[in-house]
């Protein structure tokens, strides 16, 4: 549709049911006709209840999940499973997963986890300076001290693991960052550091961000647009200002009503 879109998802359908179950049509699809587009420097948040299909959409975008119908276009070209994507595309789309501990190799140190991404994608490796210094800098960006570099993922707390996976994704200087609950597990002080980092990268490098979160306060701070997902479909997509000030769909209103604020407790 839009020529300026970095990523475009159209009529995406994903079902985890068998073909027979699907033909009978009684079982709902996990993702049921989702479309959206993202400009190169835009942040789109996807919100919605648990099981509504957010992670599944994200996994399709990064090529970790096959879809039955629809398409994912990157720079105007259709992209399939991650193994079949050209290295440049693979590098350009990075994801931070909902379960950070599960996505880090427990036998590797933090330093080797990051260095490995550069061995896989030499074009992203820092040139003209030591990898160790570059790693320390990346860790500092996400609020970790350099001492973490020599530790293994199993010796880190949940929030520390989460920041390592953000650093690993950013090490490849992606054009699209898919964040699945990437900051929800972090305390607010670190959270604001990472939100500022992401906002800065968006402005400086034109980083596009697909941001999945349950934290509507964070959405309000960083999203340009918000898509509300319910039972596999997008029920409302609007600019952040419109969504919070003038929610249209009853489900959006229900979500906003359920959100807690520190004030009024």
């Amino acid at each position: 549709m839009s020529a300026s879109a970095l990523i475009e998802v159209s009529d995406l359908v994903v079902s985890f049911h068998t073909r027979r179950e699907r033909r009978r049509g009684t079982q709902p699809n996990a993702v049921d006709g989702v479309s959206f587009a993202l400009r190169p420097d835009e942040t789109l948040a996807i919100v919605g209840e648990s099981g509504s299909g957010k992670t599944t959409v994200a996994r399709c975008v990064v090529g970790l999940q096959a879809h039955q119908e629809g398409a994912v276009l990157f720079d105007g070209a259709s992209v399939g499973p991650v193994a079949k994507r050209p290295p440049a595309t693979r590098r350009a789309i990075q994801m931070v997963f909902q379960d950070p501990a599960a996505s880090l190799n427990p036998r590797m140190t933090v330093r080797s986890i990051i260095a490995e991404t550069w061995r896989t994608h030499p074009s992203a490796a820092p040139d003209g300076r030591s990898w160790d210094a570059a790693i320390d800098e990346l860790l500092a960006d996400v609020g970790l001290d350099a001492g973490v570099a020599t530790r293994r993922a199993t010796a880190l707390s949940g929030g520390q693991c989460q920041r390592v996976s953000i650093a690993r994704a950013l090490a490849l200087r992606p054009r699209l960052l898919v964040c699945d609950e990437a900051v929800s597990a972090l305390d607010v002080s670190v959270q604001s550091q990472i939100l500022r980092l992401l906002a800065g990268l968006r402005a400086a490098r034109g980083l596009a961000i697909l941001f999945i979160t349950h934290d509507l306060g964070v959405v309000r701070q960083i999203a340009d647009r918000v898509a509300v997902m319910h039972q596999g479909r997008l029920v409302e997509t609007a600019t952040a200002d419109d969504l919070f000030e003038r929610p249209d769909h009853p489900y959006t209103r229900k979500l906003l009503d359920a959100a807690l604020d520190l004030e009024g407790a």
Binding site: E49, T55, Q98, A185, D187, R220, Q221, A258
Partner: protein, 340 residues
Amino acid sequence: MSRSSEVTDPAPAEPRPPEEPAPLLRVEHLSIDLPGPAGPVRVVDDVSFTVAAGRTTGLIGESGSGKTMTATAIIGLLPVGAAVSGRMLWHGADLVTMAEQDRRRLRGRGIAMIFQDPQAALDPTQTIGRQVGEILRRGGMPAKEVRQTVIDLLDRVGVPDPETRHAQYPHQYSGGLRQRAMVATALAGSPQLILADEPTTALDVTVQARILALLRRIRDEEAMAMLLVSHDLRVMAHVADEVVVMYAGRICEVGSGREVLNSPAHPYTRALVVSVPAVRSKTAIAEPLPGSPASPAERPSGCPFHPRCAKAQDRCRSDVPQMRQVAAGRQVACHFPEEM
């Protein structure tokens, strides 16, 4: 409650006011050392707090501040090589010195834990139903009854279609559903104390509200005590009766949830409170604290928060601030607490 007062309380001189029931668990001067590459690292340092029946104590703090280790020490599942000192009094018995087989018997029935990482805590090769019902089966409940109880539990925590879902495996659950399955597993043993480590972190607001309401209801109906570990101050403000704020393995502030979060006395608590993004009004991304969270391996001298504290004076760099009472029910470890 009644059971605990028989054995625990050393000398309840006067009857306590109803809003301050006798603690079910009393943690006193708990310290935990974990083996590190350069010798043992003190990840929890001299931590004391109580959890009472029918009350929720909230543990707040930066990642790595020792919240999970504190909860893990209580449930008795610390990593190998961990050294624990201090006392953890449970019905008068010290968990620190209790025999492993007694601890095992307590686990799940007396004290249950909802783990932070449901992915790691659930066995991928077993159905959710089997894992939720494990403790019931071990207790000798007939299979048919176990099945029905599990379905009821899954329904209670908001897993849709539990009749079908109980037979599914963890990978077939979304992140939020796995977390709910963890809550069901913890509830299965009808424990007196639940240690909930970030139980609602990956949950959407509607399910979060449901789980919190559920935990609150069980707390009230069954006088269950809860130690809620969360970095989500909004959740804390709505659920915790008392809060304990930790930084770098130490406690910096203790008090009633509402008061601490409305008028924090410790500069660190204050920094946390002002960074919470609001939903009902648009706020700018907060100014992050300078520097990184202190790692317990390189805990700064004096007040561990001093390198990041805007109010730090010379004294903060040399003297460790001790906990002191600044108002009724409020203790703060800071040389220069905020005006409240």
